[in-house]
């Protein structure tokens, strides 16, 4: 579904990702792991067109590089970005409405918003509050819900568990599993390696902008040395 | 010296560009030069943009002086005229300003200064005399501090003359330049409950045009009287569709500007020569050039001090805007007739053109 070859990400003169290749098949959940500054977020940014990149990014057979951010979203890519980036001056509800900006089915949108308010009741309680005043974790929930409002074909999640309480972390991973079982394709970036590996099919380990290891989670899971490195636990 | 240089460091851009005396000055210089110049010497008008900035104007004056200018021009604001005159003094050069009606310049601060017009009390008096002649009794004065004494004091002088002539100032109302809705002032006038014979205002276009129309649509049929600020082609234009709008409007100004007057003909001649002189104010620049040329011719000298002395002592100096002016008695401002312009069927007519004698003296 998503096929990336020889991707380089550039911030001005700095190259943050040095020619990586990765694939996400339809219905799969693929995880990117790696320490701070490895280039995970940069890769996500490049896929949605926010960061400048070279190489090949093909999505559903269509070449993405050179297309506008908006067109990529309309092609079915949706992201919950690093740093959440909720619209802080809009209400929680308006954030979700904007998330469905490309949809036209009014009733469907209403229903989906209600769905999210039941999934994350705290958001429901804050529905008219301006999103900037939400707590860190509430904002994270909102960002994930907003990304899903677009009904994407592929969902890019950049550290969705960041700043969330353990109970919600569990809920988020359960939700990802659920989405996957409904056929959603997911590209996940996580620091929480164990949990991420548990629910994903395939994983890439990034460090300093290059891929250091990759494999199905089953094979990776057997590689103790690698696991130790990933989790830092030993 | 090959040419007779007149230096004009004046605003060609910015808010004060409409004064534009340089346009008329250039045209007049070309006319004189086309006839062979003065005493076989050509007149050269040096023009540079001061952007209405005093410092720049002074620097430019210095530059023109160093280049040998025999006469200078500046924007008609005393804050610029005074320091420019001070700089020019050591060169024996004077300033000739053809539009400056401010009273202040005549208080003896500088004496190397001429203005080709009479100060505001004279225009106010000329206008008031005509108003009295029309039987005006009750007047309303509109004043503003924004245009200096021109807009703040001229109406009061007008009122003084009216009261001296048996009339009455009903009230004074305030306004700002750039007003496009006069309804608060008009409501005040209606609330007076008395018949208003005339409304006096020293302001500029387009405000004046707006005032006239709004007065008329509010059913106030008083004379609208004013000064040189009225003298812009866009005033005539408000009556394009309804000539009667201007029927009860007149103003005292710098020069007769009705059809076939010297100024109007001059503007037409300039247009033929390919020089755009868009109205009375720009045309007045011709006076500067004409006066200098006359002085050079009379004295046979291009020494700046001689030129100034010749102008100062002459009984009668021919200029473009009025038949003649003289500085002999007044020293710094021109003794001359004050034209009063009115309208008939939307066309300008010269109503009066006399030297007022009953001018207030408190200035």
């Amino acid at each position: 579904m998503l096929d990336i070859r020889n991707l380089k990400v550039l911030y001005g003169p700095i190259e943050a990702v040095h020619g990586i290749s990765l694939r996400v098949e339809e219905g799969q959940c693929v995880t990117l792991l790696g320490p701070n500054g490895a280039g995970k977020s940069s890769t996500i940014s490049a896929i949605c067109g926010v960061a400048k990149a070279t190489g090949d990014i093909t999505f559903l057979g269509q070449d993405l590089l050179g297309t506008e951010i908006e067109d990529r979203v309309r092609a079915g890519i949706s992201v919950s970005p690093e740093g959440r980036r909720i619209f802080s001056n809009l209400s929680v509800e308006a954030n979700l409405q904007l998330g469905a900006g490309i949809r036209t089915d009014r009733d469907g949108i209403e229903a989906d918003i209600d769905h999210w308010f039941t999934t994350f009741p705290i958001l429901g309680e804050r529905r008219t509050q301006s999103a900037g005043t939400l707590s860190g974790g509430e904002q994270q929930m909102l960002a994930i819900a907003r990304a899903l409002m677009a009904k994407p074909k592929i969902l890019l999640l950049d550290e969705p568990s960041l700043g969330l309480a353990p109970r919600i972390v569990g809920q988020i991973f359960d939700m990802i599993e659920q989405l996957k079982s409904e056929g959603m394709t997911i590209l996940l970036v996580e620091q929480n390696a164990r949990q991420a590996l548990r629910i994903s099919d395939y994983a890439y380990l990034l460090n300093t902008g290059t891929i250091q290891a990759e494999g199905t989670t089953a094979t990776l899971g057997q590689n103790d040395e690698l696991m130790a490195k990933l989790t830092g636990l030993g | 010296q090959d040419t007779i240089k007149i230096g004009l460091g004046v605003p060609m851009t910015g808010d004060y560009a409409p004064y534009a005396e340089w346009q008329g000055a250039r045209c007049m210089a070309e006319m004189i030069n086309a006839e062979g110049g003065v005493n076989d010497q050509m007149i050269e008008v040096l023009v540079q943009d001061s952007g209405a900035d005093t410092q720049t104007a002074i620097s430019l004056a210095q530059k023109f002086l160093d280049e040998g200018a025999v006469m200078l021009g500046t924007i008609p604001f005393s804050d610029t005229m005074i320091p420019v005159a001070q700089v020019a003094q050591s060169y024996g050069v004077s300033i000739f300003q053809p539009q400056s009606t401010q009273v202040e310049m005549h208080a003896g601060i500088v004496d190397n200064f001429f203005t080709g017009v009479s100060p505001d009390p004279f225009t106010a008096t000329a206008a008031a005399n005509h108003a009295l002649a029309q039987g005006v009794k009750n007047v309303v004065l509109l004043t503003s501090d924004e245009g200096g004494s021109w807009s703040a004091k001229t109406p009061l002088w007008f009122g003084d003359v009216i009261e001296a002539g048996g009339g009455k100032v009903l009230t004074k109302l305030n306004f700002s330049f750039g007003t496009s809705d006069w309804s608060p002032q008009i409501a005040e006038m209606r609330a007076l409950g008395e018949d208003i014979d005339a409304v006096y205002i020293s302001s500029i276009m387009p405000d004046v045009g707006v005032l006239i129309r709004q007065l008329r649509s509010a059913g106030i049929d008083a004379w609208v009287v004013g000064s040189d600020g009225f003298d812009d082609p866009s005033l005539d234009a408000i009556a394009t569709d309804d000539a009667s709008l201007l029927d009860r409007v007149f103003f005292a100004t710098l020069a007769p500007s009705q059809a076939d007057s010297a100024v109007v003909n001059f503007i037409a001649d300039c247009a033929e020569m390919g020089i755009d002189v868009p109205g009375l104010f720009p045309a007045t620049g011709a006076d500067t050039v004409k006066a200098v040329a006359w002085a050079v011719e009379q004295s046979g000298s291009t020494d700046p001090e001689t030129i100034s002395a010749t102008l100062r002592d002459a009984d009668s100096i021919p200029v473009l805007t009025v038949d003649s002016i003289s500085f002999k008695e007044t020293r710094t401002y021109a003794q001359r007739t004050i034209p009063v312009i009115g309208f008939e069927n939307g066309e300008r007519v010269l109503i009066a053109n006399e030297i007022p004698t009953n001018t207030p003296t408190d200035w």
């Binding site: 970005p81 904007l98 677009a150 | 496009s180 608060p184 709004q214 234009a237």
Partner: protein, 298 residues
């Protein structure tokens, strides 16, 4: 009594004009945090278009009006494209100064290529007819302008709060890229905001021109200056704030004109702005922006 009512009507009509102008500023501000000092020059473009239309094309006032509105709207969109797009992500100061620059350029272009002097346009005089209503005199123009302002307020409020485009506009000022990540064509969001602002400028231009009957390079400067103050008083970026500020300013201004003794008339602007300043001391962010306690939140 009649007199008081008359002046109140006048105050309302002053306010309507300021509100209309302030709305044009507020909509652009709410989208990209830009304090658009060039708004007045967009109005002037409308005015000059009228001159050109009346002189070259036709004197039919409706066509002249249409021409002016279209020209103002197009100018506004064009300015967004050439001048404001590059500073889209920049801080408000940068935008403000850019708009300053644009305004200076436009004014000087008018001076250079048209004229520094006022040019009369008489084709809109017909809009200004005196009407007596309950003993109060209003001009049809005041009435029309007030009605227009009210319609614009209602329309804009619905649009901004109900439509996705409206939401996107409000969101774009803080995180433009994220709006694009919602699949919303952000360039169109900005173009739309400037289009609306330009249309409002065009409308304001009609009323200003109908009243003044002439255009010069500074046509919009003074009214827009007031409109800024209206925006700040109401709370910059808030549309209801802009409207409230506009009417408040109108009231204060007419009030000062009426109440100040003539000797102090010259201080009118000082008093008007002084009163406004006092309001700002009471509510530093404008009347309609509630004092939110942000804490460490953004």
């Amino acid at each position: 009594m009649d007199y008081a009512i008359q002046q109140m009507v006048n105050a309302l009509s002053f306010g309507a004009e300021y509100a209309l102008l302030a709305l044009g500023l507020a909509i652009v501000f709410s989208v990209m945090g830009l304090v658009n000092f060039a708004h007045g020059d967009v109005i002037a473009v409308g005015g000059y278009t009228m001159v050109a239309f009346a002189a070259i094309v036709t004197a039919n006032p409706w066509i002249v009006i249409l021409g002016a509105i279209v020209a103002a709207a197009l100018t506004s969109v064009l300015l967004e494209r050439v001048a404001f797009r590059p500073v889209r992500y920049a801080d408000p100061t940068t935008g403000l100064l850019t708009a300053f620059g644009v305004s200076i350029v436009l004014q000087n272009l008018f001076l250079l290529f048209v004229s520094p002097r006022p040019i009369a346009v008489t084709s809109l005089y017909f809009m200004d007819v005196p009407i007596e209503m309950f003993g109060v005199q209003v001009s049809s123009l005041q009435l029309l302008e007030s009605v227009t302002t009210v319609l614009v307020i209602v329309g804009l409020t619905l649009f901004l709060n109900r439509s996705v485009w409206g939401l996107a506009m409000r969101a774009a000022s803080l995180d433009f890229e994220m709006v694009r990540l919602m699949g919303i064509r952000a360039n169109r969001v900005f173009a739309l905001a400037f289009l609306i602002s330009g249309l409002l400028a065009g409308l304001a231009c009609i009323f200003i021109m109908a009243r003044r009957g002439s255009v010069d390079p500074h046509l919009g400067f003074n009214p827009v200056l007031k409109a800024f103050v209206a925006c700040v008083v109401g709370g910059f970026g808030s549309l209801p704030g802009a409207v409230l500020g506009g009417f408040l300013l109108g009231a204060v201004e007419v009030g000062m004109l009426v109440l100040l003794p003539q000797e102090y008339g010259g201080m009118k602007d000082a008093f008007v702005f002084g009163i406004i300043a006092l309001i700002l001391v009471w509510r530093p962010n404008g009347i309609l922006s509630p004092a939110v306690e942000k804490g460490d939140k953004l």
